[in-house]
Every structure is written in C-alpha cells, then in structure tokens.
C-alpha cells in the first residue's frame, strides 16, 4: 500500500495516540465534570504515571515488583520537604537539614528533583536487588517496600512519623495531571523502544539466549529499575500536590496491589495495556461508587450496599483475566493501522516478530 505510514509515525504512534486519548478525556472532564469528578480524573492520571512506571520495569523485565510504591513515597516526601513553606517546616519537621528547612521551591522545580531522588535511591538499592533472580528479586522488592514504609513511619523529626505532613501547595488540576501522564508515557515508551529496553525484553523472553548474545541482564534490569523509579517518583510528587497532605500509609500495600492489578488487567507487557488498565479499573471503581451512592430511576432511588465496589472490582478482574489472560490489550500496543488484524495473531509470536524487525 502506498499510504503506508512513515517510520517516524509508526515509531511514535502509540504514545501519541495514548496522549491524545487522555487529552480528550481531560478536556471533556474540564468542560462537563463536577469538581469531585475532576479530582477522580486527576487521580487516574497519577495512577497512569505509576502504572506506566511499573510497566517500564515489570513489563520489560518480566519480574513482578512489589516495591515500586516506595519510590512514590520517596518522591512525595521529597516534594513535601521542598515545597512546604519554611515557617511550617521549622515547627513540624525539625530534623531536616538546615538548607532543606529554608528551601521553598516551585512545583515545577521540586517535581523533577523528587523524581531524581527516587531514581538515585533505586540506583543504590537496585545494584543489590537486581542481582537476584526471579521470585527472589520480587520478594526483595517487597522487603524494600517494608523498609521504606517503616523508616518513613518512624523517623518523626524528618517525616512527621505516622502522622500527616500538610502544606504541599494544592496545584493539581486535570491539565497538570494530563501533562504528568503524557510525560510518563513518553519516557516509558522511549525506554521500551531503546536499545536497553529491547535487550531487557530479550532477557525476559529467553534469558539464556539473551545472555549468550552478550546482554548483561543485571545492567539492563538496573537501568529499567532506575527509569521506572524516576517516573514513579514524579507520580509521588504529583500525588503530594494532589492531596496536599502526605503520610506513609498512602504508599503501602493498598496502592501497591491496586496499581499492580491495573497493570495486569490491562496487559502487563504493553504500555497501552498499562494505560488501558488504569482507565478501565478507575472507570469501574467510579461507576460502582456512584451506584453505591444511589441512582434515581423515575423517582425511585436504587443504591448498592456499601462495599460492593471492592467486591465487584475483584470479580471483574478475575473475569477479565479468565477470558483475556494477557490483559485487555492482549499485550499489544495501540497503533494506527492494522490493529484489529494484528490482534488475531498469537501474541508471543507477534511480539517476537515485531522485535526481530
């Protein structure tokens, strides 16, 4: 066919499609949504950042990580330290170093710093954890989550302990949220099509062969770990601005498992899957929450009992995975052409074919 899209377009189609779809959602929400609904959508964008970050590591390496939410914690606290007015910090966070105590940075400076801080931490711990293989690495990341959570819950003079620290400026709206999601998607995609991303996927699909071809598994995993930590650190910073209060409880098991299930439901080996998973699960959660509040049907209000939402999400997740074990997108990326056709091919073959091209 003569109108075959250009190489550049084929290369960047996926992130562009994703970003445009999300932008449309942001615009519709801004135009028609209530304030509470706007917040729901911002929360969804932040979750997209987290899950895109998770995809960078989990999707490309094939290792499940339970520890990535600790990077969100690091990012959120770093942002809080950098953006809370010094007057408030000097009362509640006396243990901070003096230079940090007197710093007050705007959001757009503090956020990348928070991401870098998380990435630096990931570089240090990753050098150890990435040497482990398979399930051992997964459990080690779980240990990391526990360590970070305990340190942040108990280092009272620096983190405020179990209590919340308040004062991060509430600067979040759908546009900022969308920008964050778009940046996360761009970084995740660029990593996935990079040399390192390709090498890491090779180790995921065939570790021995990849190793024999000269790929340093530990090194490639470490790169993915650091990149994903950076993205999730950014997400943590956004979250701190979204909620204006930060406490360690927000970054623990609940967030870990909901984001992982978003990734798996969407399709954990594709970025489109990561994004679709967040959108679908968030939509379902919101739908059921509204049903719990009650819907009027011709003067009659029908409401589901409280708590049904959690049960329903669990059941829907199981059903989706029963019929689509590789997730909603069957591990495919959204692209402009040939999408429905590609889906009929068996995914691993498809993926292998694509990568060998």
């Amino acid at each position: 066919m003569s109108q075959r899209p250009s190489v550049i377009w084929r290369t960047i189609a996926t992130p562009v499609i994703l970003a445009v779809l999300l932008l449309a959602m942001a615009a519709l929400t801004y135009q028609f949504g209530s304030r509470a609904f706007n917040r729901t959508v911002v929360e969804m964008f932040i979750n997209i950042m987290v899950v895109a970050g998770l995809y960078v590591f989990v999707g490309n390496s094939g290792l499940l990580s339970f520890g990535h939410i600790s990077f969100m914690c690091l990012g959120a606290y770093m942002t809080a330290w950098l953006t809370i007015p010094p007057v408030m910090k000097s009362i509640t966070l006396k243990g901070l170093p003096v230079w940090l105590l007197h710093t007050k940075l705007p959001m757009w400076v503090a956020t990348p710093i928070s991401g870098l801080f998380a990435a630096l931490f990931a570089l240090i711990v990753g050098r150890v954890i990435m040497r482990l293989s398979g399930i051992a690495a997964s459990i080690a990341t779980f240990g990391l989550l526990g360590v970070v959570n305990n340190v942040y819950s108990n280092w009272d003079s620096v983190t405020g302990g179990q209590g919340s620290i308040v004062g991060t400026p509430a600067t979040m709206n759908v546009w900022n949220g969308w920008l964050g999601a778009a940046i996360a998607i761009a970084i995740a995609y660029l990593y996935a099509i990079s040399r390192s991303g390709l090498a890491l996927r090779a180790t995921r699909d065939e570790a021995v062969a990849a190793s024999a071809s000269g790929i340093d598994i530990v090194r490639e995993r470490l790169i993915a770990f650091v990149v994903s930590a950076f993205i999730i650190g950014l997400a943590g910073a956004f979250y701190a601005h979204f909620l204006s209060i930060v406490n360690p409880g927000s970054f623990y098991l609940r967030t870990t498992f909901i984001t992982l299930s978003m990734l798996v439901v969407g399709g954990m080996y594709s970025l489109s899957g990561a994004v679709a998973g967040v959108v679908v699960i968030s939509t379902l959660i919101e739908l059921f929450r509204n049903l719990e509040k009650g819907v009027s049907l011709g003067g009659l209000t029908v409401a589901l009992p409280n708590g049904v939402q959690e049960i329903a999400i669990g059941i829907i997740t199981i059903v989706i995975l029963m019929y689509l074990p590789t997730g909603l997108t069957r591990n495919q990326e959204f692209s402009w052409r040939g999408w429905p056709l590609q889906r009929r091919l068996a995914p691993p073959v498809q993926a292998a074919l694509k990568e060998s091209n």
């Binding site: 009362i91 909620l243 409880g249 379902l284 739908l287 409280n306 429905p340």
Partner: protein, 395 residues
C-alpha cells in the same frame, strides 16, 4: 476499537451520575465522613449524635428560621476519596463541612472546605493539627486535645490519689497516643516531688509486652501510677499482661479506652482510670447526659459505646449557637463568633475557642474508675493551667 467505545460509554455514564443537586431555602450541613471502612466505627456514632442535635434544632423551629438539611458523602476511609467527599458536599451547598474523626482522614475534606472558604469541623479529632495549624483559620475540632487527657490524669492522680512516682508507657502506633503522653510530659514538671520512675514504648500490635513489663518489675519500687498512652485494639492485651504480671499500680489512660465492651477480656480489672467528656454508664453528674443517652438509644437502637459519641453533639451545638449570634452562616462572622466562645457550656463540658486555637487545651473531664470490672464516675477534674499552644504545635 470496540473496547475504547465501551470505555467512552462507561465514562459518559459515570459523568452523568455525578451531577449535583442544589438546595434552596435551607441551611445545608455536609458530612464528609466514612460510611464504610474502619473509620466508620468512629464516625458513625458521632455523626448520629450530630443528627440528634440537628433534629432537636429543626423541631424547635430551625436555625435563623430555616431548617437544617444534612447531606452526606462517603470518604470510604480513604484520603483521596475524602477530598472528593468534601467537594461533593460543598457542591450541594454545604455551609458547614463535618469531616472524619481522625486528622489524617478528615484533613483532605477539611482542606477542600478551607479553600472554598467554608467552616469545617472535625467530628472528634484530638490532634492540634485538626484546626488552624493543619487545615486553616476556618477549621475546628469538637473534641478535646489528647494532651489534655494525659495532663488531666497526671494532675488528678497526683492531687487526689497522692501518686508520686509515675511510669510512662507509650504505644507509638498513632499520633493520638503520642499526644496523650505529650500532655503527661508537660504536666510532670508542674507536679512538685513527682518523679518519672521510667519510660518505655511498645507498638499496638505487639503480641507481647513482656520485656516492658520486666523492666517495670525490675524497678526498686512498684510505681504509684502507670501512664498508659495507647488505644484499641492493642490496649486490651497490654492491660491484661500488666495485671497478669501482678503489677498493681493504678493505670492512667486516655479516653481511647473508654467503654465497657472490652472489659470482659480482663476480668475483675481494678485501679484503672479513664478521663471522659460524658459518661456512657448512666451515672453522669449531669442528668441531661443520661437523657441524651436514652435518646441516642431510641434513634440508633443501641447505647453509646464510648464517649466519642458526644463530640458530634457538641459540634452542632456550638456551631448553631455561633450562627444564631452571627445571624448568618457566612464563614467570617461565624468563625468570629466561635472565637468569642470562652467556657461556653455544653452538655459535655465547656468549650473555648480563640484566634490561636480552635481546639481545647484545657477541659473538664469526668474520671471513670473501674473496680472489679465495673466502671463508675468517681470525680471530675480540670487541669489547673492551659497547655501552651506553642508546646503542642512543636510536638
């Protein structure tokens, strides 16, 4: 693209469902509280008490001639949902936003109310942050600071029970627990000849506090009183172990262990003291409290389980008084009227608010003594001096 289409339909459906309804000639009070999740156990009773007061006011002709209408949004014991719940009740025209009992869970909704320029009230939060320092100048709490509980118990035990040696046992699980011990720490230097025999910490979910008990047993002399800064559910196990080890010292507590529901777990518990704002045991010195308990039972079908029911009633009471005096529900005049309250009498002790503090740093507490497993009000106590705001904020 079938799946994208489905998504679009779902998104549109949920957007339609979220359309707000606006009220006309009513005063709207919004509850952004937990109707599910673990905070529900704390929020629901206090909210029921608030609704009783709202009913009373409506039956007596309303507020400024208007009926009070309550609207609700569930925080699901989740912080992000809390902020949304705050916005949801604000969108329904709430003039007062009532938020969860706990500071951490109530703050997101209170912050939304603050940025919308509305008054917010924590149902029963006992941290100094629940108010000006942690939310802003239009935020209040209906309860009394946790620190006052610790200070009250220390001063009362020193004066009335002649306690001279104290042992401080802190459960570092929550800010509330630390608050009790902060108040105790502040009071100690004010008590002449009183000495701290020792200090220790544990965690609420510790299965055993054996090592802490060993250190108490190792003291040359059993302390007169143990200041136990803890809360449910871990409190029961700690108390049981202390008594099982043969330590007979009086145990001083915060209000968090009030209620008789758990006493069967520690049979014949004695020498055990709890400060409460009102008695759920039917022996409150104020007969109106007993009347309230009866009314509460009629409405909810059960007795109040602990004193944490009462702040909900106090909240509506003081806010309605301020609205009546300001002759408007506008934030600025109402806050000004609230800040004028100095020892304002309520069913459950006086309330004072000032420009510096929207919480109680002094307050009348009833002292409940449990003997042979039977709790009974034996005394009441107000600390001799207000706990300084600076001290509380710095903690």
């Amino acid at each position: 693209m079938r799946f994208v289409r489905v998504l679009g339909v779902l998104a549109a459906a949920s957007a339609l469902l979220a359309t707000p309804a606006l009220a006309a000639d009513e005063i709207v009070v919004g509850f952004a509280t937990a109707a599910s999740g673990f905070m529900q156990a704390y929020d629901k009773p206090a909210q029921d008490a608030a609704m009783i007061r709202i009913d009373e006011i409506n039956k007596a002709g309303g507020l400024l001639g208007k009926k009070i209408k309550a609207v609700f949004a569930d925080t699901k014991t989740d912080q992000a949902e809390g902020a949304k719940a705050g916005l949801a009740v604000l969108d329904q025209g709430a003039d007062l936003v009532i938020v969860s009992c706990d500071y951490d869970f109530g703050a997101p909704a209170a912050l939304q109310a603050q940025s919308a320029g509305k008054v917010s009230f924590f149902l029963c939060a006992e941290s100094i942050k629940a108010g000006i320092p942690g939310v802003g100048p239009a935020s209040f709490s209906a309860s009394v600071l946790a620190a006052v509980q610790g200070a009250t118990m220390a001063e009362w035990a020193y004066t009335k029970k002649n306690a001279r040696s104290f042992y401080r046992l802190l459960d570092s699980w929550t800010v509330y627990n630390k608050g009790i011990c902060d108040g105790f720490d502040w009071m100690m230097p004010h008590l002449k000849d009183a000495a701290l025999a020792g200090s220790d910490t544990f965690k609420n979910d510790d299965a055993s506090v054996a090592s802490q008990i060993t250190r108490i047993k190792g003291l040359p002399k059993e302390p007169d009183a143990i200041m136990l800064c803890t809360m449910m559910p871990g409190a029961v196990s700690a108390i049981k172990q202390i008594r099982a080890a043969g330590i007979k010292s009086m145990i001083l507590n915060g209000s968090g262990v009030d209620g008789s529901y758990w006493l069967s777990a520690v049979p014949d518990l004695s020498n055990f003291y709890v400060p409460v704002q009102g008695s759920v045991y039917g022996d409150d010195p104020n007969p109106k409290v007993t009347e309230f308990n009866k009314k509460y039972k009629e409405v909810t079908g059960g007795d109040p389980s602990s004193q944490y029911v009462y702040p909900g009633y106090v909240l509506i009471d003081v806010w309605a008084k301020a609205v009546e005096r300001a002759k408007t529900t506008d934030t600025e005049p109402v806050v000004a009227e609230l800040e004028k309250m100095n020892g304002e009498a309520t069913l459950f002790g006086p309330r004072t608010f000032s420009k510096e503090l929207h919480h109680q740093n002094q307050g009348r507490y009833l002292i409940v003594d449990t003997e042979q497993g039977k709790p009974k009000v034996v005394d009441q106590w107000t600390i001799s001096e207000k706990i300084p705001v600076d001290y509380l904020v710095s903690k």
